[in-house]
């Protein structure tokens, strides 16, 4: 049998690593990280892609709901019938309510152009993604400081001397290229400081660890800013040149001394002071990670903003070992790939989530998904009638699925396009099964950075079941809706050629390495001439954001202590493990084997008070909603908090392994669907307090016969 080697991109999580796949006939026999970029490195999830392929507990053909929503009665239908069904419904909805009553959502990432173009081609401005439960606070904080989004900078972690992580569990979140940079940095003698409410996979590699009171990240960051200014270890020249209102920052942080922060966060003041002295000697090669998934506390936006400001004080912009402007094709003297969305006339209706008109300070791109629920319930500014979620599960991603269902019941059509059964899919009207990443092609995308490149996913084998790629699904739906002209060509190969045409490259240029490198050497801007690079209203790095001021919001917000858990309650925090991509992989046979369920981390002393032993079942509850989970006792979690890995407690009966295994944090977040940070747009997912007690389900006796 002949062995084929295929360049592609992993799709087990949203990192989308470049990979090389070997096949024999229609069998995938080997997956490794692209040797040119990752030297073979691949995580457990990537390898388990082979198990995903073989797993039949995923949607294998299109399905149309027969019973009530969520009842689990499905009819397997042909693609022809399923696409006709969806298109007929959409056409009827467009006719009666207008195209803007259709909403589409996805997981974000490099291939969004296709989905965005489809949404806009249909005539709806209502494109969204999961980010209001993820990185919106960080993104908006970045915009408010630099006028640039969070992905407009990349962090040169390999060459930095000190990496500071506020709850960013960078090693468990596992972007292999980034993780290797961190390990290289540590191998070269770099320092890592870790701040969290519990010890993590990342924290065990750190040189310094601050176990802080939950919800006090902003206080610690303010204390650090104060101390940096007090010790005078900031980059005065950089600030004089590029920063506006530095004096306002100095005045603002005056009361937030290291001693004050230490008290507020429950750490030692001396440790903050010696930390600041240390980074003072290491700057500008000091990186404060501004956070990734920071939809956590009421002030997470401001915490992230403070971390961005600390980077500015370090003067780490556009330096080796600091944060570097992400360069695109244009910065390498190459014309960019053609965008599908750019060919589509922009819909004229205003967004139903209010972003861009009611909320002027938010980035219009994907808006804020959770705000659409309000529009569904009220019919304001206009009724929404259809939602298509593409590899996005709002019931797992956002709080309070029950409240979401109540809003979604106002809609006439729910469609799930996914490789696995999502909880949203299970509740929807139609499931359009997407082929796994090993069985599908994706559009060409640009990966920005100091060394930008064009990337492309190629299918390694033909689909094993009756599934299709997102490109095929969208193309065929677009044809049925009369907007097929926006998706040129009749095959993905023709679309690729169309995308590449202006660049001067051809598809053959992907053959050697699986990607097209746009430069040999990293492209760096002249740090002395960065004027015009910061896209704020003033053109400067803004300590006081013109945009926030215009929206009537503070830029330098006085600190308020977090709410203390009510008596008998704990603050529920969540996170991730290196072996799962949240809910996407819990049912994967090989990853389930590694981590079949999550546990509730609870501080040892608190557990002793509750009479809970390690491994006991505990009932975790909030306002009449509860679940049972095994307790994991540790001294290394703050006594106010309990923790569980996100993505478990799934309730799709066809996922026999994941079904009711462990517990779902988001299902405990009753009434929290609209609790967002008004300045950052992120949800306050860690503002949930739960009770914990030893469960009556722990066996005491067992009658056998």
């Amino acid at each position: 049998m002949t062995t084929r080697s295929v360049w592609s991109m992993c799709g087990m999580c949203t990192v989308r690593c470049p990979i090389r796949v070997e096949t024999e006939g229609d069998e995938v026999t080997w997956i490794e990280g692209n040797p040119h970029l990752l030297e073979g490195a691949l995580c457990a999830k990537g390898s388990a892609g082979m198990a995903l392929l073989k797993d039949e507990e995923r949607p294998l053909s299109p399905m149309i709901r027969k019973g009530g929503r969520g009842a689990g009665r499905w009819e397997r239908v042909s693609w022809y019938a399923a696409l006709d069904y969806v298109a007929d419904k959409l056409n009827a909805i467009i006719k009666e309510h207008g195209p803007e009553s259709i909403m589409m959502s996805c997981r974000g990432g490099p291939f969004m152009d296709l989905i965005k173009a489809f949404c806009h081609a249909v005539g709806s401005p209502n494109f969204s993604n999961h980010d209001s439960a993820c990185g919106r606070n960080v993104h908006h904080a970045s915009l408010s400081v630099y006028g640039l989004g969070r992905k407009d900078f990349v962090y040169d972690l390999k060459k930095c001397k000190h990496l500071i992580l506020f709850g960013r569990n960078i090693l468990a979140s596992l972007r292999p290229a980034e993780v290797n940079q961190v390990m290289d940095m540590l191998d070269a003698g770099g320092t890592m400081t870790y701040v969290d409410v519990r010890q993590t996979l990342t924290g065990i590699k750190a040189d310094r660890f601050f176990l802080v009171t939950p919800g006090t990240d902003y206080a610690l960051a303010l204390g650090m800013i104060h101390e940096v200014i007090k010790q005078g270890v900031y980059d005065q020249e950089f600030i004089d040149r590029y920063v506006a209102d530095f004096d306002k920052l100095v005045a603002f942080v005056e009361p937030y001394t290291a001693d004050w922060a230490a008290k507020e966060c429950g750490v030692k003041a001396d440790r903050i002071k010696e930390f600041v002295t240390e980074i003072g000697s290491q700057r500008p090669k000091v990186v404060f990670h501004p956070g990734w998934m920071l939809s956590r506390y009421r002030d997470s936006f401001y915490a992230s903003r403070a971390l961005h400001i600390l980077n500015v004080l370090m003067g780490n912009v556009e330096v080796e070992g600091g944060q570097i402007f992400a360069k695109g094709a244009g910065d390498c003297g190459v014309k960019g790939i053609r965008s599908l969305d750019a060919q589509v006339p922009k819909p004229t209706a205003k967004r139903a989530d209010g972003v861009g008109w009611k909320y002027q300070h938010f980035d219009k791109g994907p808006g804020l998904f959770h705000l659409f629920y309000d529009a569904m319930l009220t019919g304001e500014p206009y009724p929404l009638k259809a939602l298509i979620c593409m590899r996005h599960d709002p019931f797992t991603c956002f709080p309070d699925p029950q409240a979401q269902k109540e809003a979604l019941d106002k809609l006439d059509l729910l469609v799930s396009v996914d490789t696995h059964y999502s909880e949203f899919g299970w509740y929807s009207d139609v499931i359009l099964p997407e082929s796994t990443f090993l069985e599908r092609d994706s559009i060409i995308a640009t990966q920005k950075g100091p060394k930008p490149r064009f990337i492309k996913r190629n299918k390694a084998i033909a689909p094993m079941h009756d599934t299709k790629s997102l490109y095929e699904i969208i193309k065929q739906l677009a044809d049925r809706l009369g907007v097929g002209q926006y998706f040129p060509g009749s095959s993905i190969e023709e679309l690729w050629a169309w995308q590449l045409e202006p660049t001067g490259f051809s598809l053959k240029d992907f053959d050697a390495k699986g990607f097209i490198s746009l430069t040999d050497k990293p492209v760096m801007f002249d740090r002395n001439h960065l004027d015009g690079k910061f896209k704020t209203p003033s053109g400067k790095i803004e300590m006081v954001s013109g945009k926030l001021t215009e929206a009537g919001l503070e830029s330098l917000k006085p600190y308020e202590s977090p709410e203390k858990p009510p008596k008998g309650h704990f603050r529920l925090v969540f996170g991730r493990s290196p072996v799962h991509a949240h809910s996407h992989t819990v049912n994967n046979p090989l990853l389930y084997e590694l981590m079949p369920e999550n546990t509730l981390w609870i501080n040892k002393r608190q557990a002793a008070r509750l009479g809970v032993n390690d491994g006991d079942l505990v009932d975790v509850g909030v306002c009449g909603c509860s679940g049972t989970i095994k307790a994991h006792l540790t001294e290394f979690i703050h006594p106010e908090a309990v923790y569980m890995a996100h993505g478990f407690g799934r309730q799709v009966p066809l996922q026999s392994r994941a079904y009711h295994a462990g517990m779902a944090d988001q299902k405990l977040m009753k009434g929290m669907l609209q609790e967002m940070d008004p300045a950052g747009g992120g949800l306050n997912l860690c503002e949930c307090f739960v009770t914990v007690r030893r469960s009556a389900k722990n066996p005491k006796r067992m009658v056998e016969l």
């Binding site: 490794e32 990280g33 691949l42 457990a44 390898s47 390990m183 040189d207 290196p578």
Partner: protein, 150 residues
């Protein structure tokens, strides 16, 4: 003398368990058998930081393996380069080796009814490649070392 060894640079290992799955997928193993394993001691406070290090364990490829002489069919063998492996065609799944190994290294493969164990991916080694766990290790912490006599 054994020619090869698997070495884990525990400073670089992040405990992502990738190696375990790389091994399983390369050997086409179903749920159940696990031919290499990452583990760690409970966290301990070291200089103000709760710390632990990861350990890697697979077959020790003993100089005088217990599993080889008990095999009734000669399926379990030790090569000249030290690699202890099971010749699948000869294995009858009697599990004598499973009982003989003090570390429980040989395991039952429910997909074939035979025994499976770490053989350093000898087909790959013979082709000049490295074992799957090493080739794909997320942080390049695992190394396949060729031993030399001093």
């Amino acid at each position: 003398m054994n020619k090869y060894m698997l070495y884990l640079n525990s400073k670089r290992c992040i405990g992502c368990h990738g190696c375990e799955v790389h091994c399983k997928t390369n050997k086409r193993l179903p749920e159940g058998p696990l031919l290499c394993e990452i583990s760690h001691e409970p966290l301990k406070m070291v200089g103000g930081v709760p710390k632990t290090e990861f350990q890697f364990r697979s077959c020790y490829h003993c100089e005088e393996p217990y599993c080889v002489p008990v095999c009734p069919t000669g399926a379990m063998q030790k090569r000249a380069d030290g690699i202890v492996f099971v010749e699948q065609e000869k294995c009858i799944g009697c599990m004598a080796c499973v009982g003989a190994c003090p570390w429980g290294v040989p395991q039952h493969n429910p997909a074939t009814g035979k025994v499976v164990k770490c053989d350093y991916c000898l087909d790959r080694v013979d082709a000049g490649l490295k074992p799957a766990c090493v080739t794909r290790c997320t942080t390049h912490a695992l190394k396949f070392v060729t031993l030399t006599e001093l």
